[in-house]
Amino acid sequence: MKVLVPVKRVIDYNVRVRVKSDHSDVDLANVKMAINPFCEIAVEAAVRLREDGKASEVVAVSVGPKVVQEQLRTALAMGADRAIWIETPETPETAGLGPLGIAQLLAALVREEQPGLVLLGKQSIDGDNNQTGQMLAGLLDYPQGTFVSGLELGDEEVEVVREIDGGLQTLALRLPAVVTTDLRLNTPRFIRAPDIMKARRKPIAHTAPEQLGVNPAPGPRTLAVHPPEPRAGGRRVESVGELVEHLRQAQVI
């Protein structure tokens, strides 16, 4: 069974994010980028399925300009067999793509590739939309299991454990299905140096929205980006009465 794993290029989670001085966007120039941590978990899960003999091929896919090949190479180094790069001139957000547009592109690719399972991160740590997987399942009319922390792949079904409010929910989904991964599904492996070298020789196929016959729906427009207000210094009050007075003035009680 083929497993398709979409991955996103995001700012490395260790980097302190800065806003451009004109407030048009987050500053991405010369910032260390990485594969989105939730996507990394999805790649790890897919590679383990193949290593356990439950999947036959792992295909990583990413949407964006040429630089997203770096994240596809990471997925290949982790163990994906091949990769597909859907080229857009700029980052999806700058190119006006939102979760729906990405889901449309992925849906077209799924129709071509016919994977038995699509594994995605539940959300990316930049946009935090948490929509692409759900929209993809909707467009394909596939069953979906989201926020998954357990995964058992069978021939006809996939059993998933979902992290929901108040506990865990176990679902059996008919294949093909869309599954999005939560943080606790696995801990991604340390990549071996020789695998990084081998990944250079694995194929990355190129395609584009026009080739997939998709005119993606426009995403939300970014009007302005502002950093959070820096925390103002606290002050000491003399009595409870004074504290209550201040809280009243601040209209929080």
Binding site: A29, N30, K32, F190, I191, R192, A193, I196
Partner: protein, 589 residues
């Protein structure tokens, strides 16, 4: 305290000072480029930060143990080492013929900074293995290479270097360990005692491959009678069986507590000769010259670790109150700035020099003609005592400053910064003390070619000075004066030693360390000047991260204004010569 690799710094040096992509194309590293290098560095940084670094303090507190079966390494070290070995990190620069990945030395150096910064004690083990691989690959025959190298390259076995004996330290001519041909004609039997053997015993792997210096029965006296042997803990054909190699005890040390420093006994142990008889010392030196550069790298790494801790503390520790009542982090205080700038500028000079020197090995190995090879080899050999001597001495001051930034808390072991200072202390001693490096510099690098190799380096510095002038920019112009003066002092000092050394036999030894330090600071200044030029060009082209590049210019200025001043002190001392230094009778001390 957590550790994060300074990836922007290594990227800057590899990209703009080394021109890594061009080096790979020119010197035959097909398919290797900076993108691959940075991917490897990123992944190594993750392993270093998440697995090796948290064990650093554990190793310091727990140290190593001994029982009847030998050394027990510190808790968690075996599992961490396994992850390192399984990751294929041992063999980055090992030839593909021997099971390695054939990557450039300079890339291996950039990656190794991470291991040594994360956990100096643990990183010593693969460092020694790397040296053993080097020596066997360079001097062993094919059968020997086939028997040992794949196991060493995979990290399945580790390697050691057995030189020192109780009476043979810096003076290896006094070595007493004996080797006699085995009665069955297959190999040799080695007997003797060796001390200060780093990672001489442990249980992290099934076997340990010792490289041992010993004398054959017909050996001429002195250094010309020393041969090099491979002596495994267990013979490859009889795994697990005793081969007469034992660790008798481990030393209690000031630092690197988790690195077992062993007294080794070889009792009729079976071994194999490496290369030709009586050539052992020369063979050992191919290994040693590489190790010396790596010890310089350790100086950089431990300073980076200490600096990160000091920087964080300086930003968080509040002392003093502003008029508006807000508290002041100590990084606002000028003297704390002085310490942090000294560390930051020193570190950046160290890293650039370490990587520049490491790249010379790639340039030499991949040279297209004999002339190019000779040029880069000479430069590599010239850098070796400077990298080893200057950087490790400087690391003493900088790790000490990291404690000073912490004030009283720095002196408290729980803070963790004292460990770096203690761990750093060995660096000026092992693989040849600073005194030995300085003698090597003066006798083999300066006097031997009458200063030709150094002058060719100075000429390249002249070119950098000219480039600084051509830029006609204020941020670069401020570097010119201090750098030109330091360069002229170096020429003066070298010229004086060349003129006077013949007449005064004590002179070279007396002034050598000061000369080494002068040249070290000068090389650091050259690295800063080149960094500043690169940063200036990038800023002019509107490329790169502005704040980072502007900081490069300021850091270079600080180094030139404050640290190059030290070259004057060194010159004054050199020119004072040996007179007062040697004037007292030994009884007068």
């Amino acid at each position: 305290m957590s550790y994060q690799h300074a990836y922007r710094e290594s990227d800057f040096v590899l990209r703009h000072l080394i021109d890594f992509d061009a080096l790979c194309v020119e010197h035959g590293f097909e398919g290797v480029d900076l993108e691959l290098a940075n991917t490897l560095i990123d992944e190594a940084a993750r392993l270093g930060a998440e697995v090796l670094a948290p064990l650093n303090v554990v190793g310091d507190r727990e140290g190593v143990g001994m029982d009847t079966h030998g050394v027990v390494e510190a808790p968690g070290f075996a599992a961490a080492y396994r992850q390192f070995a399984e990751g294929g990190w041992q063999s980055l620069m090992v030839d593909e013929r021997h099971g390695g990945q054939g990557l450039p030395n300079v890339l291996n150096a950039a990656v190794s900074e991470i291991w040594h910064a994360a956990n100096l004690s643990l990183a010593l083990c693969p460092m020694l293995t790397e040296g053993a691989i080097d020596a066997i690959a360079e001097h062993g025959d094919e059968a020997l290479c086939a028997r040992y190298l794949p196991h060493l390259a995979s990290g399945e076995w580790t390697g050691t270097m057995n030189l020192t004996e109780p009476d043979a330290g810096s003076d290896l001519a006094a070595i007493k360990a004996r080797a006699v041909p085995d009665t069955d004609g297959q190999g040799y039997r080695i007997s003797g005692q060796k001390i200060f053997i780093t990672w001489g015993d442990h249980r992290m792997t099934d076997n340990i491959v010792h490289l041992v210096l010993a004398r054959l029965p017909d050996a001429p006296p002195g250094v010309k009678g020393i041969s090099l042997f491979v002596v495994p803990k267990h013979r490859p054909e009889t795994p697990g069986q005793d081969n007469g190699v034992r660790c008798l005890s481990v030393e209690h040390k000031l630092g690197i507590h988790a690195s077992p420093t062993c007294v080794m006994a070889f009792d009729d142990a079976w071994g194999e000769l490496v290369g030709e008889p009586h050539q052992g010392l020369a063979y050992m030196f191919t290994m040693m010259n590489h190790e010396r550069q790596v010890v310089g790298l350790q100086g950089l790494a431990i300073t980076e670790r200490a600096y990160q801790q000091a920087r964080l503390y300086a930003m968080e520790r509040l002392q003093g109150t502003r008029r508006d009542g807000s508290r002041v982090p100590i990084i606002a205080h000028p003297d704390v700035r002085r310490m942090l700038m000294t560390m930051k500028s020193g570190l950046e000079a160290m890293r650039a020099l370490v990587l520049e020197a490491a790249a010379e090995r790639d340039r030499a190995c991949g040279a297209h003609d004999a002339e190019g090879r000779a040029h880069h080899l000479a430069r590599l050999e010239l850098y070796t005592p400077i990298v080893k001597g200057w950087i490790t001495e400087f690391a003493q001051e900088l790790t000490s400053l990291a404690i000073q930034v912490h004030g009283g808390m720095g002196f408290v072991e729980e803070t963790g910064v004292a460990q770096h200072y203690r761990d750093a202390r060995i660096l000026t001693i092992y693989e040849g003390t600073t005194g030995i490096q300085a003698l090597d510099l003066v006798s083999r690098k300066l006097l031997a070619d009458e200063g030709a190799g150094l002058e060719s380096l100075f000429v390249e510095m002249d070119e950098t000075l000219a480039a600084l002038g051509r830029a006609e920019d204020e941020t670069l112009a401020v570097l010119i004066g201090p750098f030109a003066e330091a360069l002229s002092r170096a020429r003066q000092a070298c010229g004086w030693v060349l003129r006077e050394a013949g007449a005064d036999r004590q002179l070279a030894g007396a002034v050598s360390v000061e000369l080494l330090m002068l040249l070290g600071y000068l090389c650091g200044g050259w690295m800063h000047a080149r960094s500043a030029l690169a940063a200036f060009r990038l800023l002019a082209d509107g490329e790169g991260e502005r704040a980072f590049l502007e900081a490069k210019l300021v850091t270079a200025r600080f180094y030139c204004e404050h640290l190059l001043a030290r070259t004057q002190g060194a010159l004054t001392s050199v020119l004072a010569g040996a007179t007062s230094l040697m004037a007292l009778d030994a009884e007068q001390f």
